[in-house]
């Protein structure tokens, strides 16, 4: 199992690309930060409305802003994969497997991301999303949706916090 994972996580081409192009790593960083700001802002604004901030906003049309949060997530996700799989360029020859197994902050970040993803999945599959769609201007969101909004804000803040600490866990 470990050998398989090491093989999958080994990307010599990415490592040499980042080694040969000094702009590669900062480009990943800029993309990561633009993505996280977009994700955190758009999702955070939606969660805050569910919690009662800017209550005059109806929630159904708000949904149309969310794809931009997803786009931010994709930017951050792709650049984050670049960091993880290309780390060997920065820390000579390191395999991402060792980083994932030993870096506590990365582990906490990935757990928080998984929980945030699960939270979003539950929002859609348990029908809370449909309840929220019915929340018009000036109306209060149901308690379940509020709990999910609190979880979402907390988990994404955790992702930012632990994510920024990853270099200290190396």
């Amino acid at each position: 199992m470990e050998a398989v994972l090491r093989y999958i996580l080994d990307w010599p081409s990415l490592n040499s690309f980042l080694n040969q192009n000094p702009w590669g790593w900062p480009l990943l960083e800029v993309t990561h930060f633009v993505g996280l700001a977009l994700l955190f802002g758009v999702v955070g604004m939606f969660d805050l409305r569910v919690l009662g901030v800017a209550k005059s906003l109806p929630l159904e049309p708000f949904r149309r802003l969310l794809p931009w949060g997803v786009f931010g997530f994709l930017l951050a996700f792709c650049s984050g994969l670049g960091f993880t799989l290309g780390l060997g360029a920065n820390l000579f020859g390191v395999n991402a497997y060792d980083v994932i197994v030993t870096n506590l902050y990365l582990q906490l970040k990935l757990v928080a991301m998984a929980l945030a993803g699960l939270n979003a999945l539950l929002f859609y599959v348990t029908g809370v999303g449909r309840q929220v769609d019915a929340v018009g201007a000036g109306e209060e969101a149901p308690g379940g949706a509020k709990a999910m909004a609190v979880a979402s804000i907390t988990l994404w803040t955790g992702v930012l916090y632990f994510g920024r600490l990853v270099p200290w866990g190396l």
């Binding site: 192009n21 000094p22 702009w23 590669g24 900062p26 480009l27 960083e29 800029v30 993309t31 930060f33 633009v34 996280l36 700001a37 977009l38 994700l39 955190f40 802002g41 758009v42 955070g44 604004m45 805050l48 901030v53 800017a54 209550k55 005059s56 906003l57 109806p58 049309p61 708000f62 949904r63 149309r64 802003l65 931009w68 018009g136 201007a137 000036g138 803040t157 930012l160 916090y161 994510g163 920024r164 600490l165 200290w168």
Partner: protein, 201 residues
């Protein structure tokens, strides 16, 4: 310079710089990132709405979000000042650091102007299209944050890498913009359908 030097050599700055504690350097760098997420995220979220995303959403109530943008600003400013006094001489001699500060100022000034247009006075907007001039300001705000993040991130690199990275970011941005224009032709149904679904709020 004497004042900055005494700050840099203060017990607090030395502790923040050198302590492995999560309450030292790592607290301020994480706060700076969370603050950035709040200030840029909320500001860009409002700008996207001004540019026509989710245009059925009434614009005026979004003013309530601005306090979270300013909360993010104060968090970033506070943590940024602490990070600055750790090595003031270094930051003051890096040109991109000034570009970063200037773009933050530009973004905030443009955002204040935008707020004036969309939230206050006779032009205050509901659902549908944002008032004239708002879209240009929204684009300016987004571009300023973009420049700010770029300049902030490349501060740690040499000038040559800074320039190379800027070109790489520009090329990536152009590719993404073209991709968006190809895949979401005509800005999708949300814009076309917006005037018909005016909010009754």
């Amino acid at each position: 310079m004497g004042f900055l030097e005494s700050l840099q050599n203060s017990g607090f700055a030395t502790w923040v710089r050198e302590s492995p504690s999560l309450l030292a350097y790592q607290l301020y760098i994480t706060l700076h990132t969370i603050g950035l997420g709040m200030i840029v995220g909320v500001s860009v979220g409002v700008c996207l709405r001004v540019l026509g995303v989710a245009s059925a959403l009434p614009l005026a109530p979004m003013e309530k979000y601005l306090r979270f943008m300013w909360l993010g600003f104060w968090i970033s400013l506070f943590s940024g000042l602490v990070l600055f006094i750790l090595e003031p001489g270094k930051f003051l001699t890096i040109p991109v650091f000034y570009i970063k500060l200037a773009s933050i100022v530009v973004a905030l000034v443009m955002m204040s102007k935008l707020s004036g247009v969309i939230f206050r006075g006779r032009t205050a907007a509901g659902a549908g299209d944002a008032p004239a001039g708002a879209k240009g300001l929204a684009v300016a705000v987004i571009l300023s944050w973009f420049v700010g993040i770029l300049a902030g991130r490349v501060t740690a690199y040499s000038p040559l890498i800074q320039i190379e990275t800027t070109f790489a970011v520009l090329i990536l941005a152009v590719v993404l913009t073209i991709g968006r224009a190809i895949f979401i032709r005509g800005g999708s149904g949300e814009r076309a359908g917006a005037p018909a679904r005016r909010s009754h709020a």
